[in-house]
């Protein structure tokens, strides 16, 4: 795959005319997807896709085109030729772009993943076995992901990764279920069975009658997975330079009003330990770490090359969306095995669902509890909770009402598969929060 991409990059270099330059990105995946319902297979298949994007540059004008690759050199060369012809036809109609910035210092790199994956034909029977006599629903995704960058200056970057991501739910009845995840680079049957056993233990609690609470404020524990969804919302415009300069960041009260989060909150982009490529589509290399919130105070922004040029500050290799891809939050001092005791009486939130801003300027977000969320009394799980809607600002949740964070943190490999399997991840603690607002 890498050789093929580099061969195409050399071909494109040879096709440049006059003062033309190019940047080019490659993305591909070979994935197996096995979808299950009621403990059996609903849909099973494989997806092999490759795509190439070329940004053709002439002076301050440029235009980008993407094309699917067939893997057949003559066919792909023909498509690339067609794309370059169309781009050249467009160029005279385009004004100069004052905000276009691309890397000119050559910084080639290579991150080769090792393919230690078990065959899906071996793994799927073990999964179905775990779901035998269970109402199991979920998805097993597995395979290789490949990203590349090349430009006319000779820079070449390559990234490959081979991982699996199994997400499944054991249903008890109606909407009562335990959601579990097993992701990694190598299938370990014992580790998987350990997670199945843990899910089965929680499932027993779900057979108890549901506990319903009235809207109001409650002491809650937010698990690392639930917190990942909350922090995921911050990726929606909180940290980008553009959103700060245009006052659209949901952290506007921190930016303009002096608001702070709890001093225990430190958050950063950790490309070094993440599972995403460390290069982006204009050829810039991301720094290992970018501090975003330090001890509760707003710190750096994520700066794409375009924003860097627009606002006149250096880029830190952020993508065009200027959102974290490998977010990390420091832990606190609460031991995970003490969480129930520390929670005392309140709600143990394993998962949240469908978050959105209900007041963007104030960073107030709403969402639902989902899956195994429990009512806890005196440190003992008493019953599953009927789903509840929360509506709470970040400043209360991770600010004035934050009681503490767990010392232990979970590595969460993002399981979304829109277009391609995600390479995003997070490493987060759980959070103990007081006076958390439920509204419906």
């Amino acid at each position: 795959m890498q050789t093929y991409f580099y061969q195409l990059a050399d071909d494109i270099t040879a096709r440049m005319q006059g003062d033309e330059r190019f940047t080019c990105t490659f993305s591909a995946e070979d994935s197996d997807f096995v979808r299950m319902n009621k403990g059996v297979v609903r849909q099973a298949g494989s997806v092999a896709q490759r795509s190439l994007t070329i940004n053709l540059i002439t002076g301050m004008r440029h235009t980008a085109g993407s094309v699917s690759l067939s893997g057949d050199l003559s066919m792909d060369r023909a498509w690339i030729d067609t794309m370059l012809v169309r781009s050249r036809e467009k160029m005279p109609h385009l004004p100069e772009d004052p905000h276009h910035l691309y890397a000119t210092d050559v910084r080639s790199s290579e991150q080769q993943g090792k393919n230690l994956l078990a065959k899906s034909s071996d793994v799927v029977p073990a999964i179905l076995d775990a779901g035998h006599n269970r109402d199991m629903v979920g998805l097993y995704a597995s395979g290789g992901m490949y990203y590349g960058f090349a430009n006319s200056f000779g820079q070449r970057n390559w990234f490959s990764s081979f991982n699996h991501n199994l997400e499944w739910s054991f249903y008890s009845q109606a909407d009562k279920a335990v959601k579990s995840r097993y992701s990694g680079f190598e299938w370990d049957l014992a580790a998987f069975r350990g997670k199945v056993d843990w899910a089965n233990e929680q499932l027993d609690v779900l057979t108890h009658p549901s506990h319903t609470v009235h809207p109001g404020r409650y002491r809650v524990y937010i698990s690392p997975y639930a917190l990942y969804d909350v922090v995921g919302m911050l990726g929606w415009g909180c940290f980008g330079l553009k959103s700060h300069r245009t006052k659209q960041t949901p952290l506007l009260h921190m930016l303009e009003g002096g608001a702070k989060l709890h001093s225990a909150v430190t958050m950063f982009e950790n490309t070094h330990d993440g599972i995403a490529p460390n290069f982006q589509d204009a050829g810039f290399i991301k720094p290992d770490y970018v501090s975003l919130i330090e001890k509760g105070e707003l710190c750096n922004t994520l700066v794409s090359p375009r924003s860097a040029k627009e606002y006149g500050i250096p880029t830190n290799g952020a993508s065009g969306h200027e959102a974290p891809e490998s977010v990390e939050m420091l832990g606190g001092e609460i031991q995970t095995d003490q969480i129930l005791r520390q929670l005392d009486t309140g709600i143990y939130i394993n998962n949240v669902w469908y978050l959105n801003y209900s007041d963007r300027s104030a960073c107030r977000m709403t969402g639902m509890t989902r899956f195994a969320t429990f009512w806890v009394e005196n440190g003992i799980i008493k019953a599953p909770l009927s789903v509840m809607r929360f509506d709470e600002t970040l400043y209360r949740m991770l600010g004035e009402n934050l009681i503490g964070l767990t010392a232990e943190r979970d590595l969460i490999m993002d399981s979304t598969t829109y277009q391609m399997r995600s390479t995003e991840s997070g490493r987060l603690p759980g959070a103990l929060v007081g006076e958390f607002s439920f509204t419906l």
Partner: protein, 480 residues
């Protein structure tokens, strides 16, 4: 010289296996995205996404393989891969797929287009966006502003080993516009229909939507919001404009009645449903004024087509009549699994994803009231327009939605503009409080490309045509 579509068809005739059933779905999707932000043309991008999905049913199992490798050997490998998956899932699937009689339709469909995208020069389209964008910046409090056009042409060919052959050529246009205003720690934003004016056709869509005339009102309303009081809290009547109704229909009618959700396929991701199979035919989903149809035959609507991705011919169907739930949104596979009638809505987001039940065009049929009559009927209420926040539980019951702009209704008159309007409710009771339905003069045809669902995940186009609607006894509230 043969087209890639013709080449793929020829390859399929060679590599098609001898199994119970095999289909090939070829999709070639070309996009062009033009955007002007702060009066500067953003990078112009195009894409050509092309590939095939092979589906095999063999020994009662079903498997698929999607590939962008369109050579004969690429397709042969995909066939073998799909066959292997079919055999592996034989005997351990949700059903015996060999018992399903998939349609063997032969036909063609094309989006009607009056002003083709390519009939207008690139520079002319950029100039239009530029001119529209410039109208949005009329003062210092406007901190960001942009206009854009997203055009897609999707050509597909569906072939089966039993003689099915369907060609479709769909054209999509999504015009977008937004303006952001700020004052201290207050930022407000107005958009052109919440980016929900996706339609099929060509550039005539811009004229139909009066795109060029939109900036003045958007800017005025955005600035008005900066000065506006917070939306009050309380239980009151709620009048929703079509660009909020699109979301209300989508989330609290469309998704709950998708048959694959009811069958449990989505419980690990998009969720289940409060609707159960026994409710169809008797369940009072809403007031007697609620009439909802599934209609992929409305030519200009975003999710129209002649056939779904299992080759089922598209027809209009009543889904809710006089408030009673009649029929789920389920394609051929789900219909057999559930033993229920459904609709032609088995759809895939692209060549690289398998078809699942999607809502396509789900429309709320107009009633008889004018907007003036609806406003006049309200003693204490609020008009909300343009969705900006959406959240609903996994059973599609407890929802909370927010809008960009709202205006109070007091003693039958529209009065104060308020900011940060939100409302919450429960699907199962909300629609029963549908009090008045707007006539055809209040109807708008909307559509969005961002309906997410499925494992692996799929984002697909959906359309919703709807009038303004008035609801009673709704829990309304504002910002912090």
């Amino acid at each position: 010289m043969r087209t890639i579509e013709e080449i793929v068809e020829a390859h399929f005739s060679v590599v098609a296996p001898k199994v119970d059933f095999c289909s090939l779905r070829f999709v070639s999707e070309r996009d062009e995205y033009l955007s002007v932000r702060q009066n500067i043309l953003q990078p112009v991008s195009t894409s050509h996404d092309v590939g095939v999905m092979i589906t095999v049913i063999d020994r009662g199992g079903m498997g698929y393989a999607a590939t962008s490798e369109l050579t004969e050997s690429g397709l042969r490998d995909a066939v073998e891969c799909a066959k292997t998956w079919a055999q592996r899932s034989s005997g351990c699937g949700v059903m015996d797929y060999a018992t399903i009689t998939y349609p063997q339709a032969v036909g063609e469909y094309e989006s009607p287009t009056k002003k083709p995208w390519d009939s207008v020069a690139l520079s002319e389209k950029i100039n239009l966006l530029q001119a529209t964008c410039e109208q949005l910046k009329i003062g210092d409090r406007i901190v960001d502003w942009e206009t854009s056009l997203w055009y897609t042409e999707a050509n597909s060919l569906y072939l089966t080993t039993h003689g099915g052959r369907v060609r479709q050529q769909l054209r999509f246009v999504l015009p977008m516009m937004g303006v952001t205003v700020n004052q201290g720690v207050e930022t407000e934003r107005r958009t052109f229909g919440g980016h929900g004016y996706g339609r099929q056709g060509g550039l005539e869509v811009l004229d139909e939507l009066k795109f060029s005339e939109a900036p003045a009102q958007l800017v005025a309303e955005a600035l008005e919001l900066l000065e506006a009081p917070n939306c009050p809290s309380g239980t009151m009547d709620l009048l929703l404009a079509p660009d909020q109704m699109i979301l209300q229909i989508h989330e609290s009618i469309g998704h709950p009645i998708e048959l694959d959700r009811i069958l449990g396929d989505e419980r690990n991701y998009a969720g289940t449903s409060f609707v159960t199979p026994d409710m169809f035919g008797t369940y009072q989903y809403g007031s007697e004024l609620l009439n909802v149809t599934f209609d992929p035959t409305k030519p200009e609507e975003f999710a129209s087509y002649g056939f779904d991705d299992d080759g089922q011919p598209a027809t209009k169907q009543d889904i809710i009549r006089n408030g009673v739930l009649l029929r789920p949104l389920g394609g051929v596979t789900s219909q057999v699994r559930a033993g229920m009638e459904g609709v032609a809505n088995s759809r895939a987001a692209g060549w690289n994803r398998p078809p699942i039940d999607r809502m396509a065009n789900l429309n709320l049929e107009p009633g008889s009231s004018s907007m003036e009559e609806m406003v006049a009927s309200v003693e204490r209420g609020i008009l909300m327009k343009t969705n900006c926040s959406w959240s609903i539980d996994d059973s599609r019951n407890k929802f909370q939605f927010g809008c960009e702009w709202a205006q109070l209704i007091e003693d039958g008159r529209l009065t104060t503009v308020v900011k940060k309007p939100n409302y919450r409710g429960i699907s199962a009771t909300f629609w029963r409080n549908l009090k008045m339905v707007g006539h055809t003069g209040t109807v708008e045809v909307l559509g969005t490309p961002y309906c997410g669902k499925g494992e692996p995940n799929q984002s697909i186009r959906v359309g919703h045509s709807t009038p303004m609607c008035l609801f009673s006894q709704v829990d309304v509230f504002g910002g912090v």
